[in-house]
């Protein structure tokens, strides 16, 4: 199965709160799983995710191997306005990086 390599991030204003939903495209191999040839798949998983609202850092998420494939996160931010920029960066254990950005609607 191929992973559609696109990180998705949505932010919506709802009753004065900013609701942020994140879906990252990442295989999240734990290092214990095997492929069709019965060989171990080396560990490859996101370790560190940071989120910003405009210039302010709001949340740090640190993941172990137990986060699902294509990690999903949802959380809320107090207040917020239309047009706020929500931004995130992730880093995995092999040093691969990703950035995703959206505007609050």
């Amino acid at each position: 199965m191929t992973v559609n390599a696109k990180d998705r991030i949505r932010a919506k204003l709802l009753e004065g709160q900013t609701v942020v939903r994140i879906l990252l495209a990442h295989p999240m191999h734990t290092g214990r799983g095997k492929n069709e040839q019965d060989e171990l798949v080396p560990a490859e998983f996101i370790q560190d995710i940071r989120c910003w609202r405009n210039k302010e850092e709001v949340l740090t998420i640190k993941c172990g191997t137990a986060t699902s494939r294509n990690p999903y996160f949802a959380f809320q931010l107090n207040g917020g306005e239309m047009g706020d920029v929500i931004r995130l960066r992730w880093v995995d254990n092999l040093g691969a990086k990703g950035v995703a950005e959206t505007k609050v609607v």
């Binding site: 734990t30 949340l59 998420i61 640190k62 137990a66 699902s68 809320q76």
Partner: protein, 162 residues
């Protein structure tokens, strides 16, 4: 004359040694910030027992017996067909939250997730976890240097730690 050359040689050796030391220091100085940026608490995430994982991720603090954390796992709750993606939702009205951790007791490495929210973040927080087998799933919050703990038992049809 001979003595003078000797002196020069000594100075040269000294200088080259200090230069190489400096280079070493500079190199380690350059490496350090990158390590700090990619700071990931390895000992906490590779702890194999629940107690070690909790201690390494939250530090020592008095545990408060309180059910102030609302916590649901699985859909429908307490049951999940596929262990590879078990939905989890944490809700709490606590203030001054320093850290939130999620642990799965029977996983090879119990610590699954660690959050460091600022005051701007409010709950609920939702995510998906891998759960290897039927297990207790624990949510812990460190707020005002106290630990709050809630756990739920979840049943898994297909193990999800591949």
């Amino acid at each position: 004359m001979n003595n003078n050359i000797d002196q020069q040689r000594r100075r040269l050796i000294k200088q080259s040694i200090s230069a190489s030391t400096l280079a070493l220091v500079a190199a380690s100085g350059l490496v350090m910030p990158r390590l700090l940026l990619a700071h990931w608490p390895n000992d906490a995430f590779t702890a194999e027992t629940l107690e070690d994982a909790i201690l390494a991720s939250l530090g020592e603090a008095a545990e408060v017996d309180d059910t102030i954390i609302q916590f649901t796992i699985g859909s429908p709750p307490t049951y999940a067909v596929n262990g590879a993606s078990v939905p989890v939702e944490i809700n709490s009205s606590l203030d001054n939250i320093q850290r939130v951790v999620l642990l799965v007791e029977k996983n090879p490495y119990p610590l699954a997730l660690m959050l460091e929210p600022t005051a701007a973040v409010s709950f609920p927080f939702k995510t998906m976890l891998k759960v290897a087998e039927d297990s207790e799933v624990i949510a812990m919050i460190r707020a005002d240097d106290k630990l709050y703990r809630t756990s739920r038992y979840v049943e898994i049809d297909i193990g999800g730690c591949a």
